[in-house]
């Protein structure tokens, strides 16, 4: 009997040890996963939503890692909605819509809500309050708000990725103004907290994704605030110093003596809008016609005139600018950090985890990523992390990096061991329409530009002004009091995703 007891104890000990050796993935199992979010969650890239890029959305890749087999997305055929942008030449770099028409939704008949309910352009309030408009028509299909549809699916895991549309317009328009180019923080906080509380449920896990450093996206981190030559090399003055571009000054950095133009102070950011050829400028960019350029350096038609800074003209006109003075950069950064504090608190208060995209973006800015000798950076056009001509959205490569980081975060947070994604596919697979579809794609209308007017306008279309009645006026769209009269042209159509 004693021997039997010893054997039994040994057997129990063995079973216990075997249990300890079980894979950690046993600690969390995901049967139903739903993603709420914005364009990043939707897999929006190259100025469009299209199936071949939606396949790389982080929700799609998380679902694969979770082993969720019936993860449905609102897929759209090539050439995307709105029409995707492609690169048609490299010398000079040329972007253009890849077709003269758009794609169509290909999964509209799904008899239940999509699992990926991320809608490009969505702000925090839109997740609960918006049911239609623009791409929301194709994604929400009149079945209710994204939040309501998500709850219908009763997921046991949720990601909430509202990562920046509540502040993005400040960068796109060139100034931060609550209620006009940014959602007031109290409004954001109230909406986000209510949304977070409504998502909480027993047995439900998930991740709330924060907002990245605004300087992560190419919009305000690509154009140097100094004069450069045709090869993008800095032009030096006789003393060997860099030559700052000219701006109109602002309250914090006024031009001496009330001068209409003065050198940009260190730390000023110039947005991609400065290099976007504008129809109103005869197909040239603000810099190309001389705005911001001292006449002593280049006697261009508009030299010694300041680059436009963003401003608001009551009652409802947003004068889109291309400058973010240091105080504006700091204010936007502080707002992002305040928003992240809201997101982090909301996650903690409702049983979810907070993913620090801000810290990740700082790491990616500083180090990029290297995989097997292939180095990826955030650099515009050449870095690989952002899509063609995109001021804001990541590429298939970038979204896979984000998915990889999220999976590692989930594994560390929940003790799971979900497999990381295959980034080699994203690194080496051309992001082009499938063979056959390409035959229908026209490159007509390609312009030799580094960043296009259409792409610039889409930045504000993607994240509409907080004041819905306001009208964004781009340089050249009309006669602006602080600007020299320039040849005007009717603004291009504002089609696209809209809200």
């Amino acid at each position: 009997m004693k021997m039997h007891s010893t054997v039994l104890r040994a057997a129990l000990l063995g079973i216990g040890l075997a249990a300890l050796a079980l894979p950690l993935s046993a600690q969390i199992t995901i049967h139903k996963y739903v993603a709420l979010g914005d364009s990043y969650g939707a897999g929006y890239g190259a100025g469009c939503l299209v199936t071949r890029e939606q396949a790389f959305s982080y929700p799609r890749q998380l679902a694969t890692a979770f082993g969720v087999t019936d993860f449905q997305q609102p897929t759209i055929s090539d050439p995307g909605i709105p029409t995707c942008i492609g690169v048609t030449n490299l010398i000079p770099v040329t972007f253009a819509p890849i077709s003269d028409h758009t794609g169509v939704p290909t999964n509209l008949g799904l008899a239940r809500p999509y699992d990926n309910l991320s809608v490009p352009g969505f702000k925090a309030a839109d997740v609960t309050d918006t049911t239609s408009g623009g791409l929301a028509d194709a994604i929400l299909r009149g079945l209710g708000s994204a939040r309501d549809q998500a709850l219908v699916l009763n997921p046991d895991f949720i990601t909430l990725g509202i990562i920046g549309n509540d502040i993005l317009t400040a960068g796109g328009a060139g100034f931060l103004m609550d209620g006009v180019t940014a959602t007031p923080l109290p409004v954001f906080q109230a909406k986000y907290n209510a949304l977070a509380a409504s998502l909480a449920a027993s047995g439900r896990n998930g991740v709330f994704i924060g907002t990245p450093n605004p300087l992560f996206i190419p919009l305000a981190s690509t154009v140097p605030p100094v004069v450069v030559d045709a090869n993008n090399q800095p032009v030096l003055d006789p003393n060997g110093d860099l030559i700052p571009l000219l701006g109109p000054g602002n309250t914090a950095y006024p031009c001496p003596g009330g001068a209409p133009a003065c050198p940009l102070p260190a730390g000023t950011r110039v947005t991609l809008g400065a290099i976007a050829p504008m129809a109103a400028l005869g197909g040239k960019s603000l810099l190309q016609v001389g705005f911001g350029v001292p006449c002593a350096v280049a006697p261009l038609p508009m030299c010694d005139h300041p680059l436009p800074d963003g401003s608001f003209t009551p009652p409802a006109t947003v004068n889109v600018g291309v400058l973010l003075y240091p105080d504006e950069v700091a204010a936007i950064d502080q707002r992002v950090q305040d928003m992240n504090a809201v997101i982090s608190s909301a996650a903690a208060a409702n049983g979810f985890k907070y993913f620090d995209f801000y810290a990740l973006s700082n790491d990616l800015i500083a180090n990029g990523r290297t995989y097997g000798g292939l180095h990826v950076t955030k650099d515009f056009v050449t870095g690989g992390m952002f899509a063609y001509g995109e001021a804001v959205h990541m590429s298939n490569i970038g979204y896979t990096i984000l998915a990889d980081e999220l999976i590692q975060f989930i594994n560390s947070s929940y003790g799971s061991s979900f497999p990381r994604p295959d980034i080699n596919t994203a690194l080496t697979t051309p992001d082009l329409p499938a063979s056959g579809a390409a035959a229908t794609i026209s490159m007509a209308g390609a312009q030799p530009v580094l960043f296009g007017e259409e792409a610039w306008r889409r930045v504000l279309q993607m994240a509409p002004l907080a004041n819905a009645t306001a009208l964004a006026v781009f340089p050249g769209d009309g006669s602006l009091p602080e600007r020299e009269p320039i040849r005007t042209a009717a603004p291009r159509g504002r089609g696209g995703p809209g809200h």
């Binding site: 030449n89 490299l90 995989y371 000798g373 870095g383 063609y388 992001d431």
Partner: protein, 437 residues
């Protein structure tokens, strides 16, 4: 770095070294199979050291050798298997690789010259360090996914090691020597560029870094002790200093057409033209071998040994170009000091002898450095050998089967961000002739 004078002796010895092309599969990249008697005994030879190969294993051993002797031999290193299967995130599940399977030859030469009864001069020529890691594109058409890091990494070295042994007493011998090491390194890989028109990477250049064994060399030293307090017992210690070699070589960049003529034109305008001067430095580690041997029965010897190698000296591998436009290739290797534990037995039957041995060699390479350049791991060595020795001549052979433990790299940090499963096995056959006068 000065070019060595190519004396007749230097030339002949260097030719021996060139024959030792691309040795491979060592612990880290150290090669201990420098004599068949030692190899047959599991490389536990520091306390035995009773033939001319003692110049490598424990030069104090030649203090007890009273005849002019020459030993000439060669090792035949054959990779039996060398496979890689990829993991996520890079190169991804499904990616794979095969190591080139061939046989490398590592010649060695030893001469023992008695000067007096107590002083003996020795000269050894061998390759203590080497690496040959060449990856092939696995069938059917999938390219080797590590080609952007390395598809051919080579380190070759030739040591010229004169030593002087002094038999202090009938039971104690000490030795010291100089170690002149010549070496070359080679690295081949592809460069890839992001094609902005497809937002994907394409191969755009073939890069080959190479150096001459004539131009890269430095000195080290070694010292040893062998004590035989009784006929049936001996203990030995052998130390070799670290040697750091600064390499100067050439780099060539050959364009690969990407299929995008616009991108190709940009690459062509930026690709370095002609030979580019490239520099690097390799720290070859110090080592200390400690052993003891027992004659446990008539004609039966057992040897035990622990070998320490200061691999922590190999903490960086930095490759720089004189042309500032070419970015340097720097990696932190962070290797750790390692130990190998060896045991061997020799049974003599008159002039014949049969030997066997086993060792466990701990890898010095951390997970963070494992990659296409080298994927090392703990290994078990199983050895068998036999020989026929007379006072005038001897012939010995041995075989070593090396089982390298499979190694899976599945989580960061990894310098190359290159994940997957490596497996490898190696066979080393070695033979030598000895002539004594």
């Amino acid at each position: 770095m000065t070019r060595p004078r190519r004396t007749g002796l230097g030339l002949s010895l260097a030719l021996v070294g060139l024959l030792a092309a691309a040795p491979a599969f060592p612990s880290g990249f150290q090669i201990m199979t420098q004599g068949p008697r030692a190899t047959g005994m599991g490389l536990a030879f520091t306390a035995v050291a009773d033939d001319p190969s003692a110049i490598f294993y424990n030069p104090a051993g030649i203090g007890f050798q009273d005849h002019f002797s020459v030993e000439i031999g060669a090792g035949f290193i054959t990779k039996l298997s060398g496979d890689f299967s990829g993991g996520n995130p890079f190169p991804g599940v499904g990616a794979n690789g095969d190591q080139h399977k061939t046989t490398f030859i590592t010649p060695n030469f030893y001469a023992v010259i008695p000067l007096t009864t107590d002083f003996k001069l020795g000269l050894g020529v061998f390759s203590e360090y080497g690496l040959g890691n060449r990856w092939e594109d696995p069938p059917p058409t999938y390219p080797w996914p590590g080609k952007y890091i390395s598809d051919n990494a080579v380190i070759q070295s030739v040591d010229l090691n004169p030593v002087l042994a002094w038999k202090l007493t009938p039971a104690i011998s000490i030795a010291g020597g100089a170690d002149y090491r010549m070496s070359r390194v080679q690295l081949e890989r592809n460069n890839a560029t992001l094609d902005p028109m497809t937002n994907s990477f394409v191969d755009t250049a073939r890069v080959k870094l190479n150096s001459s064994i004539w131009d890269n060399h430095d000195w080290g030293w070694n010292a040893a002790l062998l004590i035989k307090p009784a006929d049936s017992f001996s203990i030995g210690a052998s130390y070799r200093s670290k040697i750091g070699i600064d390499y100067v070589g050439d780099a060539s960049f050959t364009q690969i057409a990407s299929g995008n003529p616009i991108l190709d034109a940009i690459v062509a305008s930026r690709l370095p033209q002609g030979k580019q001067t490239v520099r690097t430095r390799v720290e070859f580690p110090a080592s200390l071998n400690l052993g003891m041997a027992f004659v446990i029965a008539k004609n039966t010897t057992i040897s035990l040994e622990g070998d320490w190698t200061e691999w922590s000296e190999f903490s960086q591998l930095n490759i720089s170009f004189d042309n500032p436009a070419i970015p340097s290739l720097d990696r932190t290797t962070n290797w750790k000091d390692s130990w190998a534990y060896r045991m061997g037995v020799e049974q003599k039957f008159g002039n014949w002898a049969v030997r066997s041995g086993y060792y466990r060699d701990k890898t010095p390479q951390p997970d963070s450095d494992v990659g296409p350049i080298l994927a090392d791991n703990d290994r078990d060595g199983y050895t068998l050998g036999f020989g026929y020795d007379t006072p005038k001549w001897g012939f010995n052979v041995a075989d070593l089967y090396l089982h390298v433990h499979a190694r899976t790299i599945d989580s960061p940090p990894n310098t190359d961000n290159f994940y997957g499963h490596y497996s490898e096995s190696v066979n080393i056959a070695i033979a030598s002739f000895r002539f004594s006068f």
